[in-house]
Symmetry: C2
Subunit: 257 residues, 2 copies
């Protein structure tokens, strides 16, 4: 199969009519306990025809002719990871006519899609997934792999810019919304949350004050369970109680500019 750009669609529905002007791209974040990572796809074609260098791209697709953008992004996510009900949020539209500056990229796109594409406006989404839950098979099926956010491989088009814009958005929004629990497993230690914050915000936090803040909230619940097999005092596991969070969420609807 050398037709890649349309791959996801065609695998499930050969008859789909695509809108060649509008696409969605997903910046899928995952956290492995140490690093923040993005799920990227190795573009195909370069093995068959040696003319294109190895590059990666964001999971994405053109939208179907009668498909809502959000639905298209959900579809891309589902077909890649097999997961449903994933945190997914639109964050920016990229519509610069010069978004495909690299001539190779353009040739590759037309080569693999079989369509002469003048300009694609893409709506970018960011997704947060529990990294261990994503089907690892898909990593092979779709040539997908996780990459550290600060060590990105060569990317096609403006996808690097898209990723960085997504990271920037995540960085801003994680401060005021309980997004971290989308990236963590169902049960976690305080240290894990803190590490996640540190890696997203790119700053060290004081563990003692961080604990205090979290445990003073009533939506972080201790489980009667501890770590095992760690070479230090085992930490207790906690879980996030979303219902309590929503009930007690103090509206900091205030000016703080």
């Amino acid at each position: 199969m050398n037709c890649f750009y349309y791959t996801f669609v065609n695998m499930t529905n050969q008859k789909t009519i695509l809108n060649p002007h509008i696409s969605v791209d997903c910046v899928i974040f995952g956290f492995d306990g140490k690093h923040l990572k993005v799920l990227l796809i190795r573009r195909t074609g370069q093995d068959i025809k040696k003319q294109f260098p190895i590059k990666y791209k964001l999971p994405g697709d053109l939208i179907q002719s009668m498909e809502d953008l959000d639905k298209a992004a959900e579809r891309v996510l589902r077909e890649l990871t097999g997961l449903e009900n994933i945190f997914l949020r639109q964050f920016k539209v990229f519509g610069d006519p010069g978004r495909i500056p690299d001539n190779d990229d353009r040739k590759w796109l037309e080569n693999t899609s079989g369509v002469k594409i003048s300009r694609v406006v893409t709506t970018a989404y960011y997704a947060l997934i529990k990294i261990n839950k994503s089907k690892m098979e898909s990593e092979n099926d779709h040539h997908a792999s996780w990459h550290k956010i600060d060590r990105l491989p060569p990317l096609i088009f403006d996808h690097k810019e898209v990723i960085l814009a997504g990271l920037d958005r995540l960085r801003n929004e994680v401060r005021f919304e309980p997004l971290c629990f989308e990236l963590l497993p169902g049960k976690f230690t305080i240290r894990q949350i803190q590490s996640l914050y540190e890696v997203i915000l790119d700053q060290k936090l004081d563990n003692r004050n961080f604990r205090k803040k979290l445990l003073n909230s009533n939506y972080i619940e201790a489980l009667n369970e501890k770590q095992t097999g760690v070479a230090h005092k085992p930490a207790a596991f906690y879980r996030f109680n979303r219902k309590k969070y929503q009930e007690t969420r103090k509206d900091l609807l205030y000016y703080n500019f």
Copy 2:
């Protein structure tokens, strides 16, 4: 001129090629001292052919074939208000295939544009302008008028939804960014800022604490000038020092979810 949807473009450049799939729409906010308002355009056509009811729409346009989205939004804004360097921020894409549910609206659009439009994905921007600076002539030229945010007239397509999404975004962002000064004149009283916050956040604030907070910052500078002709103690005028703001902006880069 019964061709409205393309009006702005055609008035300045008859030869422009438009991309019939992608548009921009601008939610333009203004503050008159009392109410938060949105600049809307009365759709034309209904006087000539009595078949369409009076409805309003957001200022917007299809993008030109090689035009960046941001540039298109700037163009719409410039051509409507005559203003440059306006605060303008992309906030959401509306791409639901069912965004033109009203049959009348669809007929009107095809009637006035002369193009069979299958589906338009629109990128919505919100703009903040100093209401008194906008050229009032344009209100006539373009059938534009200000409307209170809580008393919107009938709107075409999903434009009401777009406005409310823009308001929601403004409401969130005004809390952490000095956006209010985009809506206020160069010199203003503390009361004016407070009223603006109250109207955007839709909550009363304590004047004494609000003052304290603002005056403790060093980027609100007192001018040697006072109100005149008011039936009470005249208030002092202040201005916003953006440079000082940026210097002393304490990075509240912290978790507060």
